[in-house]
Each structure stands twice: as structure tokens, then as C-alpha cells.
Subunit: 138 residues, 2 copies
């Protein structure tokens, strides 16, 4: 199995609210206003927003109703960018879980929670390389 | 906020079991045998395995105990590859949730559930482009 992820789908309760949140953070989609799924090109993969009940059915899982063991992170080249993005997320309506702060692994990060409870760590990790187009190399 | 995901962390109950599952599927990590987190380079992002309890604390969320609204997918260029990967996942100990089968969106896919309950859709989507190095373009 190739060592990749093609698509991350986040289950949402109100697609309009979720879409507006990510668009407020600057993300662009080609989805039409009435589409029932919203795809965002994210580097060489795709992030989708879709109805959480339908996603659970399609994924053949029972919905635990809260967080379920998956956290996303977005890395930046400086602590100042981490500060800025967390402020943007707060202004867009996210709950700030923690930080920004120094972390136990020698970096700097904070966590915001999106309108559907999906956590995003916004991080500066001095041990990882950010490529010219924004990708990550271990 | 840049339109990317740098890192997906999957919370796991037994890191050795989870690591062995992904390694059996052919994934390579530079992690040492005793490391408490396992990173896999996945295209221009990273997928990590980490203790689920610690991930919940670090993500500032309550653990709902089951699935929590996030599903990953991995796309291939043919239905035959989808069949093969699902068989590999089954042989590695995954539960098969459904398929492989034709989907309502005009593709072909199946779902496997990893040892920690994380679902992966293995898909052929004729509407999307797979780049030479395995990435996805909408």
C-alpha cells in the first residue's frame, strides 16, 4: 500500500457553518454553493467536509459522538506565524484549546478546535523541514 | 492559513501493534524500536502513530471512545489495485467494513478498519487525477 494519504474527510454537522469557517481562514474550494460535499486541494492531497452521519455510514463505523483519535496539524516556519494563525482561528470562531506555548518536544504550538470539534495543532517544529511550496520533510 | 495539512496523528492503544500493521502494509519509518511515536513520511505530509490518551490530552479534547468524525482515504488508478490493497489489509489483520464495490459517486471502493478503529477508504475515483508521484489533483 503506497505510503500516502489521498483524502481526509471531516464529518460536520452543518456544512454551511464548517465551509464558512475554513473559507474565513482563507481556504478556497471549487464547490458550488449547494454542493453536499466541499473539497479543498491541500498540497498533493484533498481535505473534504461532509455530513458526519453519512460519513459514519460510509465508513462502516459507529459514531462515538465526540473526538475519535485523529488530530490534524499544520506547521509553520516561525513562532510568529503560529501566533498569527491561532489569532485568525479565534477570530473565525474557533475555540482555542491551548497555547500558543513552548511544547515538551522542543517546538512551539497551540491547538484550536473547529466548529465540529476537530482539533488542529498549529505548530513550529524546528526539527522538520518545510519545503518551498509548504510541504513537510522529516 | 495555508491550505494544507502537515501532519495527521492517529491515536493508538498499542503502538507496537499499530506500527506492525502499517509496516506489514509496506510503510517505512525511521523510528527506533523503542520510540513512543512513529512517523511515516506520506507524500509531502506526515502520518504519525501516538498513544491515544496522550493525543487526546495534547489536543485538548474529551475522547468519545470510538470513531470521531474523521476518515482517511487512499486512491489508486484502477479497480484492480483497490481489490489488491483490501486483500493486503485483510491479510494484515484489518477488518473489512465494506466492498470492494461500485460507489454512489461513480467510483469503486472498499473500507478497511485498522487495529485501532480508524477507517480507510481504498478508492478508485475516475474523476480525480493521480500525479506521477502518487499525489491527488482535483
Amino acid at each position: 500500500m503506497k505510503q500516502r494519504v489521498s483524502l481526509i474527510t471531516l464529518g460536520v454537522n452543518d456544512l454551511g457553518v464548517a465551509r464558512q469557517f475554513y473559507e474565513t481562514l482563507g481556504w478556497k474550494t471549487g464547490a458550488e454553493p449547494g454542493d453536499d460535499v466541499v473539497f479543498f486541494q491541500a498540497g498533493d492531497m484533498v481535505l473534504a467536509l461532509w455530513d458526519r452521519t453519512r460519513l459514519a455510514e460510509d465508513s462502516c463505523v459507529e459514531d462515538g459522538g465526540g473526538w475519535g483519535g485523529t488530530t490534524l496539524a499544520l506547521n509553520f516556519g516561525s513562532t510568529e506565524e503560529v501566533d498569527e494563525i491561532l489569532e485568525e482561528a479565534r477570530a473565525a470562531g474557533a475555540k482555542i484549546g491551548r497555547g500558543p506555548e513552548r511544547t515538551f518536544w522542543g517546538g512551539y504550538s497551540g491547538v484550536f478546535i473547529d466548529p465540529d470539534g476537530h482539533p488542529w495543532e498549529i505548530a513550529h517544529n524546528p526539527h522538520w523541514t518545510i519545503t518551498d511550496d509548504g510541504g513537510i520533510r522529516l
